[in-house]
């Protein structure tokens, strides 16, 4: 539910600022800790203000909480593709990862075999030519690479 999620986000920011500020306070030199403490305190106050605003609105029975589970599911599925691509690259390297990702993404989303294959080959070839050949970047080769 959105209202709940908004509050959780504010709480996460509050937690982050507390950790940030406490870590900064342990630093030896004042020049290292002054700005982190100032900034984290300011953001902490803002997040607390947001949290109070949320609770006040909720106690007044403000806008009804909207169910967004369907949307969340959509984001998870779409995000899983991106996550999957990074996992593929991590284990197999960029070029095999690009071929598998582009082909499977296009195929699952309705492209024909030929078009999916064309996309996969053209994208990986372009990346190889532009980054490795033209720009001299040594693309990550995966866990097994020397």
């Amino acid at each position: 539910m959105k209202r709940g999620a908004e509050s959780w986000i504010y709480l996460a920011i509050v937690g982050l600022c507390l950790v940030f500020g406490l870590l900064a306070l342990q630093m030896e030199q004042w020049k290292a800790r002054l700005l982190p403490v100032l900034l984290s305190s300011a953001v902490l106050l803002l997040a607390l203000a947001g949290l109070c605003k949320e609770y006040l609105a909720a106690s007044r029975g403000g806008a009804p909480a909207s169910a967004r589970s369907g949307e969340l599911g959509g984001y998870l599925v779409s995000g899983a593709w991106v996550f999957g691509f990074v996992v593929l690259v991590y284990f197999g390297g960029f070029l095999p990862g690009i071929i598998v990702y582009c082909f499977s993404y296009a195929k699952v989303h309705g492209a024909s075999w030929a078009r999916a294959l064309l996309l996969a080959v053209s994208v990986s070839l372009s990346v190889y030519l532009v980054f490795e050949v033209l720009l001299g970047v040594k693309l990550y080769g995966g866990l097994g690479a020397p």
């Binding site: 982190p36 900034l39 300011a42 997040a47 947001g50 599925v77 991106v82 691509f85 996309l119």
Partner: protein, 502 residues
């Protein structure tokens, strides 16, 4: 000043500069045509090539891209009733009704020519404003710079459409993230948890791509494989003469184009608000001053002219503020500032002092990109409209792949890919819950400069450095900015109370 103008014009003799101009203009047109992509994704993707680039290539590319993107966006607004970028939203209010009446070519001719004129006129205004701004820039010291950075972040946070509170939190978080890593002042590593990777801090490229490009692709991916835009648009233009009729409309209604350009420039100069506001202010002004305001929204060509001249004109104003003071005139300019930092330059006064000729050349670039965009777009409208129909099953993997490869290529460091993935999650949350992503990026980009100037001001003027006259002036602007919304609400409430009172 003449010497500087000549030196700036000489940049156009460099092959790199010309390549940047042409590639940026083409990319801007194509990205503008594709709804849901826009300049943010394009500028973020361009950043990933900064590692092999020089200021003479990258900066004109980014300026040309941001100059041409709104021109491209007008095509789908007119032909498909879908604004290519958010700053084309008002164009479709009259552009699409014109297309429905069979005047698509005329609307496009008017939109493209007005865009070009808006960009060109406002760029000349920016050039004329440089000598006026220079004395102001010379008077900026460390204390004023600190206040200016706070002012810039506040402008982005307060004047954006999202909640002010969330905008300020975003800017603050950006500044906090920028503190991760080695601190030059003390030689200490902060918030690194012993990780060598974090000694250099979080990379700017993973940050930009994770905040903008990847979340947009995830959102686009949710629409399914054939997504992007409605695929049943009418992209037909009956005859070429129609387009010329639209070009003539610009001269027939020259007052609308001129006022749109001037409004666009001045709205663009105000930090934090960009083309969207400029476009609606100009559209509203044109409607108020029109002889037949009732025709607006039903296919009045003046509506198209007002909107398109203003959105392009705002770019020159935004560029001027970004280069002169290091505070972005629009959200997109935050990415240009990121590029300036990546390329080893310092955004702010230095750009109008040490690098004045490059800055002026960038204003020339805006003029050139608007001309090139108009020359490309007029004969190729039909083809460009087809680009909008690229399905997301092609677009999403291409952009995702380029984003991650770009992240990696910058430092050849796989951790950057993982960081980009992590920031994508943050970007998605921010996108969905109305947090201000440009403010976070700006805070991150200006964080190091902010800290340097903060300690410099502290060393020179002591802890009360913000009591210098210049700083006080900027802080009074800041106070006015924060007071604006509550005051407006109070006045509105009083007026409403009086009207509905007994």
């Amino acid at each position: 000043m003449v010497d500087v103008l000549i030196a700036s014009a000489q940049y156009f003799l460099h092959t790199e500069f010309l390549i940047g101009l042409v590639v940026g203009t083409l990319a801007g047109l194509v990205l503008g045509v594709i709804p849901g992509i826009g300049s943010f994704v394009g500028l973020a993707l361009a950043l990933s090539f900064a590692f092999v680039s020089t200021p003479e290539l990258m900066l004109p590319l980014m300026v040309a891209l941001s100059g041409a993107v709104f021109t491209g966006g007008s095509i789908t607004a007119v032909l498909l009733n879908l604004p290519g970028t958010e700053a084309n939203a008002a164009t479709l209010m009259d552009g699409f009704p014109m297309a429905q009446k069979g005047q698509a070519g005329r609307a496009l001719g008017a939109a493209v020519t007005a865009s070009a004129w808006g960009g060109i006129l406002s760029a000349f205004l920016a050039l004329a404003a440089v000598p006026l701004i220079l004395p102001l820039v010379f008077s900026i010291h460390a204390a004023e710079m600190v206040c200016l950075i706070v002012l810039g972040l506040s402008f982005l946070a307060v004047l954006s459409r999202e909640s002010m509170l969330k905008g300020l939190i975003s800017g603050g978080l950006g500044l906090m993230i920028s503190l991760i890593g080695f601190q030059a002042n003390t030689g200490l590593a902060r918030f690194t948890f012993g990780s060598l990777y974090l000694y250099d801090g979080i990379g700017l490229v993973p940050m930009a791509l994770g905040l903008f490009a990847l979340p947009e692709m995830i959102a686009l991916g949710m629409q399914g494989g054939a997504g992007t835009i409605a695929s049943q648009g009418d992209t037909r233009i009956k005859r070429t003469g129609e387009v010329l009729e639209g070009v003539r409309d610009v001269y027939r209604h020259w007052r609308v184009t001129l006022s749109g350009s001037i409004i666009g420039f001045f709205v663009g100069v105000v930090p934090g608000i960009g083309a969207l506001t400029a476009m609606f202010v100009s559209y509203g002004h044109a409607k108020q001053t029109a002889r037949h305001p009732e025709k607006f929204g039903t296919g009045a060509v003046e509506g198209v002219l007002a909107a398109e001249s203003a959105n392009n004109a705002s770019q020159a104003g935004a560029l001027l503020t970004s280069l002169a003071f290091g505070i972005p005139g629009s959200a997109g300019m935050a990415l240009l500032l990121a590029a300036i930092v990546l390329l080893g330059l310092v955004p702010g006064p230095e750009m109008l002092t040490r690098h004045l000729s490059l800055s002026i050349a960038l204003v020339w670039t805006l003029i050139a990109s608007n001309i090139v965009a108009a020359l490309i777009i007029l004969p190729s409208t039909r083809f460009l409209a087809k680009v909008a129909l690229v399905p997301s099953r092609v677009l999403v993997p291409v952009v995702v792949v380029i984003s991650f490869v770009g992240c990696y290529a910058f430092r050849e460091e796989f951790n950057d890919v993982l960081v980009a993935l992590l920031i994508t999650v943050v970007g998605l949350v921010m996108r969905n819950f109305g947090y201000n992503r440009p403010a976070l990026l700006l805070g991150f980009v200006l964080g190091t400069l902010f800290e340097q100037q903060f300690y410099l001001a502290y060393a020179i003027d002591g802890p009360l450095f913000f009591s210098r006259p210049g700083s006080l002036l900027i802080l009074s602007f800041l106070a006015a900015l924060y007071a604006w919304h509550p005051l407006k609400r109070l006045v509105t409430r009083k007026v409403t109370g009086r009207v509905s009172g007994p």
